[in-house]
């Protein structure tokens, strides 16, 4: 029995080590190849950073990534400029990170993805916030976007996902997201949000995310009832206690 224990422990360690090694190739495949400064060659960049999940032919890989045929420059530009792609683990939710490519590399990759073809490869949308109106934008944003992104674009949640804040989003990125419906976001056709409404929405987001006018005096982070309730509890009740202390009298004893 005394001899059997170390043997058992060794067998266990071996088994664990094997399991860890077996798990490693999957991780290695998903990891992003480091991108050095020189290449601005679209196909080469694609093979290095995208092909493991989207396939060398762009038709997608089962359980790893969707087909890019028909995605067009619009989607490629959005995902690359917001740093949401490439994704280390294809089962993670893509979130905004600093872009992982230079501007020239993004343009090369976007051109390559657009050249993959497919049903209708949409170009990068144009948007002109100056042509929109703030009031129309607020109305449309409240109707279509605020449910998830919060009325002042501070972000929020849907069950199963987080809707990001829009503070860092550029006008073009907002327009792209509206038309693509990235990750779990629904997409909006030109029938639902036409070009002039889109201009207005982008103008409103630029206003709400960067310089909202707080009619109540103090925005308290502009994220709604929770900080407002904290102010009521912490500041309001403290003030009430002070007033009570001022108007009350101690009993003589």
């Amino acid at each position: 029995m005394r001899r059997a224990l170390p043997a058992l422990a060794a067998a266990l360690a071996l088994a664990l080590g094997t399991a860890a090694l077996a798990g490693r190739p999957a991780l290695a495949r998903a990891a992003v190849a480091p991108i050095g400064p020189p290449p601005v060659d679209g196909p080469a960049l694609y093979e290095a950073a995208c092909a493991s999940c989207h396939g060398f032919d762009g038709r997608g890989v089962h359980d790893q990534g969707p087909s890019l045929l028909g995605a067009g420059a619009r989607a490629a530009d959005f995902y690359l400029r917001t740093g949401r792609m490439p994704l280390a683990n294809p089962h993670d939710a893509p979130v905004r990170t600093p872009p992982q490519f230079t501007d020239a590399q993004i343009r090369a990759l976007t051109a390559y993805v657009a050249s993959l073809g497919g049903p209708a490869a949409p170009p990068i949308p144009r948007v002109d916030p100056a042509a929109g109106t703030l009031a129309a934008g607020r109305s449309a944003f409240t109707d279509h976007c605020a449910g998830c992104h919060q009325v002042l674009a501070r972000g929020g949640i849907v069950t199963g996902a987080i809707a990001p804040p829009l503070r860092e989003a550029t006008p073009t990125e907002i327009a792209e997201a509206v038309r693509i419906g990235p990750y779990l976001m629904p997409r909006f056709t030109t029938r639902q949000i036409d070009q002039s409404t889109l201009n207005s929405i982008v103008r409103y987001v630029e206003w709400a995310a960067h310089r909202p006018s707080n009619a109540g005096g103090w925005g308290i982070g502009n994220i709604g009832p929770i900080p407002e309730g904290m102010v009521a509890w912490l500041i309001g009740i403290a003030a009430l206690l002070i007033v009570i202390r001022l108007i009350g009298e101690r009993s003589p004893q």
């Binding site: 359980d63 790893q64 849907v158 069950t159 693509i180 419906g181 990235p182 056709t189 009619a215």
Partner: protein, 334 residues
Amino acid sequence: MSPWRVIVAAVLLALRGGRRGAAPPPPVDPRERELPGRGEHARRAELLTAALLALGGLAGIGFFVVYLLGPGHLTQWLGLALGLALALLAAALIVAGKAVVPQEVAVEERAQLVDEQAEREVAELAAAGAEGVTRRRLLAGAAGVAGVGVGAALVTPIASLGPNVSQRIDETPWRRGVRVVDERGRAILADDVVQGTFVTGFPEGASLRDLASPIVIVRLPPATIHLPRGRDPATWAPEGLLAYSKICTHAGCAIGLYRYPSFRPTQPRPALVCPCHYSTFDPARGAAVIFGPAGRPLPQLPLAIDPATRELRANGGYSGSIGPAWLNVDRGSA
């Protein structure tokens, strides 16, 4: 003397008063009684109290007026009016408590529980508290204004309650053949509802504000749709188009969120989500509840696609009762 002791002594006095037949103190005309420390100061305090009460009442009426002018649009003014009313009321009570009602500090010796002498003193003190106030009518009038004003402000929001639904909940404007239009009355075509988007529709000619009017239409790949037994996909999901009541079955909010995965294998399935309490419904399975507090699925509306114009029309009524849960709602159906 603390107010509690006064109250306890007054209660004991009331309980024992009749039986013992305690001699009441000799009647004195309250207006002739001079209490120590009263005079011009107290009179001014009375006027101030009356003014604060009246202003508080006016602020309460102001809330009522602001509400009438534009419910929901003037939130800051509503808050200001109600806050002012309550603050003025509180200020009036503070002034009354500190300056109008005579202040007297007395220490009660702990003697036997019922002491006739103490009883008499308490009775006198209690009587004196009210006697010292000279302008009772003024104060009572001001208190009346404050009561009416603040009362009106507190009762006004009742007008914001919705209609009584018990009679009308199952009357919906949707019948077979009713055209589906958008909020501006334009017909919605089957091809307007592409995969990944969600469209809000209304029955042509009906009120947009009717709880039963709004529907949310989505398109899913037909192979992924598994409707409850008895709902034939040809009628309930033509070409993969599904329509559900937009009103959440939990608390009646509008289903404003739609999550649609851009790549199914790695992302959560499509769902209609209510922004109020995150009730989550699976449109592929007859809007079954997959998360959140809703007790029953969203009622579904059968659809038909006009073969000539491709317009969407209702193909019958809802599969169940629309709207939030209420008394006796059948939680099983719908």
